[in-house]
């Protein structure tokens, strides 16, 4: 199914206000939706006949400095089509108040580790995630290294880093 057909199916189910904007600049067009809709939209995409996006290839977070974007790359094994979904989150830079988005672990289990990675490196809080611990970095690490404004600590456990 093409991008436009998938889009029109989404619009007929959720209404035109679902799609905030779309990006056709690159090789893979993307749909922007609101974070409140993400779980319902993904469940619809996964379970609807003809769409059947059963495979979450990749989930990642991008720091654009003005805002964060969460990017989902969905795939369908039986129909061999794919879709890029994006959600923009306001860019709280404070470490006490991370940007929040509902977790997709209930839809695809792949999201579990990918969301933990995004939390670990980019500092995105996934609401409803069953086990949101750091995954690659040690549990007592301070800060989120993939953020553009990250400054590395001088010492870790009393040892100089540089």
């Amino acid at each position: 199914m093409t991008f436009d057909e998938i889009k029109s199916m989404l619009v007929s189910k959720f209404g035109t206000q679902l799609i905030l904007k779309e990006d056709r600049n690159g090789l893979q067009p993307a749909l922007f939706i609101d974070k409140a809709d993400i779980v319902a939209v993904c469940l619809f995409l996964r379970d609807t006949e003809g769409l059947y996006f059963d495979f979450l290839s990749n989930l990642t977070a991008v720091d654009y400095q003005t805002h964060f974007t969460i990017v989902y790359h969905l795939n369908s094994l039986p129909y061999q089509h794919s879709l890029v979904l994006k959600v923009e989150l306001s860019g709280h830079r404070s470490l006490d108040e991370l940007p929040e988005i509902p977790s997709l672990t209930s839809v695809w289990r792949t999201a579990d580790w990918h969301e933990r990675e995004a939390f670990d490196l980019m500092g995105i809080y996934f609401e409803g995630h069953p086990d949101l611990r750091r995954i690659l970095l040690p549990d007592d690490w301070e800060g989120y290294p993939l953020r553009k404004d990250y400054e590395e600590a001088e010492k870790y456990h009393g040892i100089h880093i540089n």
């Binding site: 990749n58 991008v62 470490l95 991370l98 809080y125 949101l132 290294p145």
Partner: protein, 398 residues
């Protein structure tokens, strides 16, 4: 002090470990355990011989690939991609380079000779990677001989690739727009010689392991991974195919010159009792080696007949001096020996340094299913299951 909400999961996990019953025990497997194939730590909650729960701990080999990639230009990142799955470096750089070339619009202009050389070295590397998977899997469950045989034959491939690229494991051979060098003179002949040598060895390896009764008892009907669970966890590559799904990106996406090459996609058939058990995963890899040998043969034939080496052929002719890409993003995926290797690029304002690169390691996703597979199995079976997943920690931790 950070918001306590972000430490909640950690506290919950620590509390869970203290709340196990008196007959249960927390057992650490790794990071120095030989069967974890590197520095993976599995925390097992065991009840005698039975594993109740597996909690994987990653990150011991975290080398900040994503952060490095967003501070270096594309050509400088290629050596870092080699170090993701260091057993299949060619495949990694091929995927990365393919993504950059597509964004540049270069992919259709690459000469056929270069594409065939790329596929040739990638498939040789796939054989080497699968040989390690098979050999170490044998040794995990007690068979020493196949391990030695696999490493002996793999060494021939390593030597050939070293001859082509100058390095034994981390090649930096495939470049954006071309190759580091053309194949050395005589490479095709030496490769043909290797294939002639390797084919009977493969039969031997097949005989010693595939139908070996001890091997079958250790792997058949162990760690059965149903197809729906595999898909839900994002499992790909030989693991997904062993669960009976014919999904190979070399065919699905048909990138490079794979559409011109004839090869089969082996899937798990449940010959030993259950589709998607450890034996099936082993068998799919074994069959894939045979298919890769076929691909190598076809590449060699084309390289020696249709796309011969000429004096004026320059594999660096299309290599761009500087990669300047407009603002866009692109997710490229390719079939690595372990599964779907993806790179997600975000580029900005014609800069030659990407804003963000995310690597999606197949081992990372394949490993995530271990908590599901490891529930209620024997500790010895957990070794068999972990070996059949065939992880490379360089790619899990990135």
């Amino acid at each position: 002090m950070a918001n306590p909400k972000y430490k909640e999961a950690l506290l919950r996990y620590e509390k869970h470990l203290t709340e196990i019953s008196s007959q249960e025990m927390v057992l650490n497997m790794g990071p120095q355990h030989p069967s974890t194939h590197g520095v993976l730590r599995l925390q097992l909650i065991t009840d005698g011989e039975i594993v109740k729960e597996v909690v994987p701990h990653l990150g011991y080999l975290h080398r900040c690939f994503d952060k490095h990639a967003e501070s270096l230009n594309y050509a400088k990142t290629i050596p870092f991609t080699d170090r993701l799955d260091y057993l299949a470096s060619m495949n990694n750089s091929h995927a990365f380079v393919m993504g950059v070339e597509r964004m540049l619009g270069l992919d259709s202009k690459i000469p056929k000779r270069i594409e065939y050389i790329r596929v040739l070295v990638c498939e040789l590397n796939r054989i080497a990677s699968h040989l390690i998977a098979i050999g170490t899997y044998g040794i995990d469950i007690g068979a020493t001989t196949p391990f030695l045989w696999c490493f002996r034959d793999r060494e021939h491939i390593m030597n050939m690739l070293e001859w082509a690229s100058g390095s034994r494991m981390l090649y930096n051979y495939i470049w954006v727009g071309g190759l580091f060098y053309d194949l050395p003179v005589g490479f095709e002949e030496r490769c043909t010689e290797f294939i002639t040598y390797f084919k009977p060895k493969l039969v031997e390896l097949d005989e010693i392991l595939t139908q070996n009764q001890i091997f079958i008892s250790r792997t058949a009907k162990i760690g059965v991974l149903p197809a729906d669970v595999a898909i839900n966890y994002g499992v790909s590559g030989p693991m997904l195919r062993a669960s009976g799904i014919k999904w190979d990106l070399r065919r699905i996406d048909g990138y490079s010159v794979y559409p011109e090459i004839d090869f089969e996609i082996p899937v798990g058939k449940g010959e030993m009792g259950a589709i998607g058990d450890c034996w099936d995963r082993y068998k799919v890899r074994m069959d894939e080696v045979k298919e890769s040998v076929r691909i190598v043969e076809q590449c060699l034939e084309r390289l020696q007949k249709d796309f011969k080496r000429t004096a004026e052929f320059d594999p660096r002719a299309l290599v761009p001096k500087k990669v300047n890409l407009k603002t866009q993003d692109y997710y490229v995926r390719a079939e690595n020996p372990k599964g779907e290797l993806g790179f997600y690029f975000v580029t900005k304002d014609k800069s030659d340094i990407p804003l963000r690169v995310k690597s999606r390691g197949p081992s990372f996703n394949n490993l995530s299913v271990i908590s599901e597979l490891g529930k209620g199995v024997l500790i010895a079976d957990l070794i068999a299951i972990l070996g059949s997943i065939d992880i490379v920690l360089g790619e899990v931790d990135r």
